[in-house]
Structures are given as structure tokens and as C-alpha cells.
């Protein structure tokens, strides 16, 4: 699997700094779970955070702080087991965690033309949802006010510019008017997050125009 569409530096720095809305963090963590390139880039930004910690001027700790923490760890067992979370289905671990399982655990709601969505429980500063788009169907035409991230988990979709397969991330801002169309062959499942309400032009999904040649 070769991922061609990656996280932006801006998103990676925001994630490393702990500044992303929860819904965006979910998309970043899910993409990084699938993409070694972005995992390595993220590690380099974490290292930048480490350099900032090292660089801090000392702020004196309370007098008894060390004793207090020593007393605290006294009865505290050190965990010993590395417990790698490894997802077995199509959802990487961080997403499976939000869904409460893999694909079969998703509570889909139909929005027409076989398109389904499931809103995921995240903070309100941005929203995340899963989208299920039958092969060959376009999701509603919409513009954006904020930023919208769309990560492919199964199948593939195309927008006017490019094609997105599993692991690929489309980053759309207000300048991009896009109509993602699920490619033929396999139904497409995506994780999408936005920090602004979507403005649907046409609420109903529609069949792809022949223009897209899918």
C-alpha cells in the first residue's frame, strides 16, 4: 500500500503541540497509524517539543514536591507490559476506539442514495463522522467554511484533482469545491472531520456524472 496524500506540516505540528480539535486529532492519529512516513515526521515534531522542554528556564518546584512524588510512587506499581493495540479490521486502533469496534459496530444512518453516515462523539470545536459511499456514487456537493479532512479507509474516491485510496488524506479548505465520487468496484468508507458546519448545496447524493469516467 502506497499512501500518496499525507498530513500537512501544519496538522502534524498542531497535533504534536496538542492544539488540534479532538476530531482532527482522531484523523491525524488514524492516518499516522497507517502511514510510516507521517509517523516519522510526527516523531521529529515531538523531538522539537523535547528541545523546548530542555530549553525551559527552571520554575522552582514546591519545597516538598520531590518527597510528595516519591511518596506517591511508593505504592504505585510500575506497569511492565507493553500492550500494543493492534486493530485487525479496517479501522486502525484509535478509530476502533471511538467506534467501539470495527465496521460491524458502526451505527449508520442513511442520508439517501445508499450513502450513510455515523457521527462520532468528539468535542464540539470540530466534528468527525464516518461516511459510507456506495461505489460510483457522489457525496453531496458542498463547499467549506473551515477545513475538512477526509481519510479513506476502504475503497477509493476521486475529486476533480486526484484519486484517494486507503490511507490517503484529502485536505480541503474553503477554496476547494469538491464532489468526491466513490470509485467503482468497492464501496468507499471514509473518516471525515471538519471544523465548520458543512453547507450542503444539494442534500441528496447523486449518481456520478459520466464526466468522471469511473
Amino acid at each position: 500500500m502506497t499512501i500518496r496524500h499525507h498530513l500537512s506540516d501544519q496538522l502534524l505540528i498542531g497535533y504534536a503541540a496538542g492544539q488540534l480539535p479532538e476530531a482532527f486529532s482522531l484523523v491525524v492519529a488514524t492516518h499516522v497509524s497507517l502511514c510510516d512516513e507521517c509517523r516519522a515526521r510526527l516523531a521529529s515534531y515531538d523531538t522539537l517539543g523535547g528541545a523546548l522542554i530542555e530549553d525551559q528556564g527552571d520554575v522552582e518546584m514546591a519545597e516538598a514536591a520531590l518527597e510528595a512524588v516519591m511518596a506517591r510512587i511508593e505504592g504505585m506499581p510500575q506497569a511492565t507490559q507493553r500492550a500494543p493495540m493492534r486493530a485487525s479490521g479496517i479501522f486502525p486502533a484509535p478509530l476502533a476506539d471511538y467506534v467501539g469496534g470495527d465496521l460491524s459496530a458502526v451505527k449508520w444512518r442513511s442520508i439517501g442514495m445508499g450513502v450513510k453516515q455515523a457521527i462520532l462523539p468528539t468535542g464540539r470545536d470540530a466534528s468527525a463522522r464516518l461516511l459510507y459511499i456506495p461505489a460510483g456514487v457522489a457525496v453531496p456537493d458542498h463547499g467549506h467554511r473551515g477545513m475538512e479532512l477526509t481519510l479513506v479507509l476502504q475503497g477509493a474516491f476521486a475529486d476533480a484533482n486526484d484519486r484517494f485510496d486507503r490511507g490517503d488524506l484529502e485536505i480541503a479548505d474553503e477554496n476547494l469545491e469538491h464532489t468526491p465520487v466513490a470509485m467503482a468496484g468497492q464501496d468507499c468508507i471514509c473518516l471525515a472531520a471538519t471544523d465548520a458546519p458543512l453547507r450542503f448545496r444539494k442534500f441528496l447524493p447523486r449518481l456520478a456524472q459520466p464526466l468522471f469516467r469511473i
Binding site: T47, G50, I53
Partner: protein, 203 residues
């Protein structure tokens, strides 16, 4: 302990310094990773105290610059250090410097405390049993943080301040500059190589 002869940069006053001894007093030369490994493998309290004296005040400073009041910052810095002890088994000196690892714990504590938000974490990789990580790689990893610190200090004030403000949480994600002007490529490449190797071994 292997490969020491091939690491001339580790010599301090003609003496190899990456030994197993406790080094707590010589400032920047302290082997924080060595101390952390003593905490991890031997629950060494003296090593933990040395780590605490160095990192706790820095974490507190970091949290106060991130907008926490002194009391909350103190409390969280103590939490961070306790987590350092509790999760010592996750410390892998070939993957991250102690400072980097402390940063990730402090950042997550800050998200809890100040934003009360949840943060999804990437799937953990199973690096497999590595009782004796490659020493050259360990040193490289620990030194990257120092090198990066120097590069950061050498940036023009405006640029450095932008990076600091991003990490202190003063900038929203859309205000963060995409370019840091820092030599992060070598760090990325090293980790990428390690990941490629891991994937190869898993196949």
C-alpha cells in the same frame, strides 16, 4: 554496551561517559537516558530523583507558559513525573530522548488539564523485544534533541517565537506556520529507516 569505541563524540575529558554509573551533576553532559533506564529496569529512586530535579521545574515552566497558573502547573508537573515512573516500561532510548518523552507526557497532561479534551493516539507499534538496543542509535537519538535545541536557539527571534507559541498552545491550528526552518529531516529519516526495518522484520 557495544560500539563505544566508535563513538568518539561521547568522550568527555578523555573518558567514555556512557557507562552505567549515575551522572547527576555535570549539567548538559548528564546521561538522562541512562538514568531513565535505571528507573525502568531497577526502579532506581536515586535516578528518579535526579530526573525529577532536572525535568520537573522545566515541565512546570512549560505548563505556566502554556497558560496554567502556578498551583495547577505544580500539580501537573508532579503528575507528569509520577507518570514518568509509572510508564517507565514504555521508554525506549532508541526511539526518543528523555526530554522528548517528558514533553509528550506533559503535553497530554496539559490537554487533560487545560482543554479537558480527549486526544486520539496512533496505534502503538510492536518493536519487539529489544533488551540491548543499539548504542550508537541510542546516542544519536539523545543527541538529536540537543542539536535541535541549538538550532532552535540560532533561529531569528520572530521565527523561534512562532514555534514556541505553537507549542505553548497560543496559536490555533490554522495559525501555525508550516515551515519551522529547523533541520528536522535527519530525525525523520532515522525514524523512517527504523520503521522500514521493523516492517521488513514483520513480513
Amino acid at each position: 554496551m557495544v560500539g563505544q569505541a566508535a563513538e568518539p563524540q561521547l568522550r568527555v575529558a578523555g573518558k567514555l561517559r556512557h557507562d552505567k554509573g549515575l551522572r547527576v551533576s555535570n549539567g548538559d553532559e548528564t546521561d538522562w537516558a541512562g538514568l531513565m533506564i535505571r528507573v525502568r529496569d531497577h526502579q532506581d529512586r536515586a535516578a528518579f530523583a535526579a530526573l525529577f530535579r532536572h525535568f520537573a521545574p522545566r515541565v512546570k515552566g512549560f505548563l505556566m507558559k502554556s497558560g496554567a497558573g502556578a498551583t495547577l502547573a505544580e500539580e501537573c508537573a508532579q503528575d507528569v513525573m509520577a507518570t514518568l515512573w509509572q510508564k517507565a516500561h514504555l521508554f525506549d532510548p532508541a526511539r526518543a530522548s528523555v526530554a522528548t518523552w517528558v514533553f509528550t507526557i506533559a503535553r497530554n497532561r496539559r490537554i487533560d488539564a487545560l482543554r479537558k479534551a480527549r486526544r486520539a493516539e496512533p496505534e502503538e507499534l510492536d518493536w519487539g523485544p529489544e533488551p540491548e538496543p543499539d548504542q550508537a542509535e541510542v546516542m544519536e537519538t539523545q543527541q538529536e534533541t540537543e542539536r535541535l535545541g541549538r538550532a532552535l536557539a540560532g533561529l531569528p527571534e520572530r521565527q523561534r517565537s512562532l514555534i514556541e507559541r505553537a507549542f505553548y498552545g497560543e496559536l490555533s491550528h490554522s495559525e501555525i506556520a508550516a515551515e519551522t526552518g529547523l533541520p528536522l529531516g535527519t530525525i525523520k529519516s532515522r525514524i523512517r529507516l527504523a520503521l522500514d526495518k521493523l516492517r521488513h522484520e514483520m513480513m
